[in-house]
């Protein structure tokens, strides 16, 4: 018993000494590895090419939503947005499980969305999708209301040109990621319709939507979803207190319109 305890103490001391050396080694290794990194020196010593482990379950109904604050649901007190209401509706009508990926980023403009859809992971998710929903362009055009306040037709023209180029690229990119899915491009409404120059701004938005729809029409299985008319008459009933984003009612209107187009 006594000898046992004594040797136990010696064993523990020895183990501790070994551990001390191991940790010291780890420390030296860590310092070396993190203080002397040469820029651009990417070593790959363990990359065991991982297979994509995504389960492509045919029974699922997959929706991927990309775009701006409308996709995100900004302005809706419940935080659902049109994607949320749409999902609710789909879940109620479908017996398949519905999986929704909301990749919307508030404030996103068309060039940022283009960059986003080019990333590997978004591409990967798009590939799995059955439906792809896009809201884009609002920030390009309105720039928080600035563009229409100044109202310079020449400036708007150049913005629109750039936007249409981006939109075309986005749609091509999305299509190349997923040949089968139906793409819905949700159009713009005019939040400023009741302001003084409502007529002029509506003119701009209509033309913008028309060109967007034209661009969409050139792509296979790509549907332009107009929302202009939804907000045309009672715009303030459907807008959030910032007079820009829709409120819960407004989002529900958009969701209903998209839902009507979905088939499964």
């Amino acid at each position: 018993m006594l000898i046992l305890r004594k040797s136990l103490s010696i064993i523990i001391t020895a183990i501790s000494a070994v551990l001390l050396l191991v940790w010291l080694g780890g420390f030296v290794y860590a310092v070396q590895n993190n203080l002397n990194v040469k820029a651009g020196d990417i070593k790959d010593t363990s990359r065991n090419s991982k297979k994509s482990s995504v389960v492509n379950n045919e029974k699922d109904l997959k929706v991927v939503a990309i775009g701006d604050s409308l996709t995100r649901g900004m302005g809706d007190e419940t935080g659902k947005g049109y994607i949320g209401y749409l999902t609710d509706e789909m879940k109620a009508k479908s017996d398949k499980p519905v999986i929704v990926q909301n990749l919307g980023i508030s404030g996103q403009e068309s060039d940022q969305l283009l960059a986003q859809v080019k990333t590997y992971s978004v591409t990967r998710q798009l590939k799995e999708a059955d439906y792809i929903l896009i809201t884009i362009g609002g920030n390009d055009l309105f720039q928080g209301g600035q563009t229409l306040a100044d109202f310079q037709p020449a400036a708007i023209k150049s913005i629109q040109k750039k936007y249409l180029r981006n939109l075309d690229a986005i749609l091509s990119r999305v299509r190349s990621s997923n040949k089968e899915a139906v793409i819905f491009l949700v159009g713009l409404y005019n939040p400023f319709i009741e302001l003084d120059n409502g007529k002029e701004t509506s003119q701009v938005v209509r033309e913008w939507n028309f060109n967007s729809a034209e661009t969409a029409a050139k792509k296979p299985k790509t549907v332009f979803v107009p929302t202009f008319d939804l907000f045309e008459l009672k715009v303030n009933d459907y807008l959030y207190s910032d007079h820009f984003h829709p409120n819960a009612k407004g989002y529900r209107l958009i969701a209903e319109r998209v839902a009507a187009l979905l088939t499964w």
Partner: protein
């Protein structure tokens, strides 16, 4: 010297403090494992999928949305930006930053306990090592032997280093074994990134390389060990200076907690970076998390900690060899 270390080890083991530390760790790990498990379950429910890429993508989107909010403070914004870039990097390279499995849990556990939990455990041992001899009165027997005082103190210090190494191993082992029950024991060879740097310009992954998880964990343990040694040495010094173990523990505890609070609020008080407490989170440099104060780097923190360590060591030995024992 070997005999002296054996003596100290004998006393340390006889007092069963290590067992107490092990017990506390086991209980905490069970708790954290459960918490982690719940988090995973919640995520599962919310997303309807267990795919981490989806989760990570969602996190990126969430962070980007938070970034769009103009009301968040600048330094936090920077932190978020760094996080997004990093997560994006993981995503693009198909690397799961939180590869579920006991190794990942252990790694995360170590990273999260480096600045408070582990130092507390170390403190329990270190602050008692010398002051208990004073409070028991046995110091009078210990110092009236034909052995020079510095040798006696050195044997105690080496014992402390051994105990720290043992505690860290215990921590790793306990968290690996317990969390493995829930998350599985695999994942040692999963790819991990090292060599992230936070520079003036932001997140820099140009020097990053992919290494197997176990190598990363070894590095994590290495820096955790170093931080623990520094805290242990400081507690050791307090133990030499102050007779009462409880008072000594109180002082170190207060410093550690102050550090935890400060690191959350001092981003504008830059001189605070010279406190040892704010330099404890060495693992953050390894995994690319931003430091509490801008401009802090791994080499800076190592330097600060080394200076504190040396100072504590010099003070401990000078005082102990000169001290009159009443």
């Amino acid at each position: 010297m070997n005999n002296l270390i054996q003596n100290e080890m004998l006393k340390l083991l006889a007092r069963k403090r290590l067992i107490v530390v092990g017990g506390i760790l086991a209980i905490l790990v069970v708790l954290f494992t459960y918490a982690q498990y719940q988090t995973v379950q919640t995520q599962l429910k919310k997303l309807g999928t267990t795919d981490w890429r989806t989760t990570l993508q969602q996190q990126i989107i969430d962070t980007q949305n938070r970034l769009a909010n103009s009301r968040i403070p600048d330094d936090f914004k920077k932190e978020l930006e760094v996080r997004v870039k990093q997560q994006q990097y993981y995503l693009d390279n198909d690397i799961n930053p939180a590869e579920p499995g006991a190794p990942s849990f252990t790694k995360e556990f170590m990273e999260n306990s480096i600045d408070l939990l582990l130092p507390l455990m170390i403190m329990v041992i270190a602050s008692d090592l010398v002051s208990s001899e004073f409070s028991m009165g046995s110091i009078k027997l210990l110092l009236t032997r034909p052995v020079k005082r510095w040798k006696i103190l050195l044997s105690k210090y080496i014992t402390l280093l051994l105990a720290i190494s043992l505690i860290i191993a215990m921590m790793g082992l306990v968290s690996y074994l317990i969390s493995g029950v829930v998350f599985g024991y695999k994942g040692w060879t999963a790819p991990a990134f090292s060599g992230f740097r936070i520079t003036e310009a932001g997140f820099d992954s140009s020097g990053a390389s992919i290494i197997p998880q176990w190598q990363f964990i070894l590095m994590d343990f290495g820096v955790v060990w170093f931080a623990a040694v520094v805290v242990g040495t400081l507690s050791f010094m307090v133990s030499v200076l102050i007779r009462s173990t409880a008072a000594g523990m109180g002082i170190i505890l207060a410093l550690l907690i102050a550090g935890a609070i400060l690191s959350n609020m001092v981003s504008s008080w830059t001189s605070a970076k010279y406190f040892f407490m704010l330099n404890m989170r060495l693992t953050d440099y390894l995994n690319g998390s931003p430091p509490p104060i801008e401009g802090m780097t791994l080499s800076f923190s190592l330097l600060v900690l080394t200076v504190w360590w040396l100072l504590a060591l010099v003070i401990s030995f000078t005082v102990f060899t000169k001290k009159d024992i009443y």
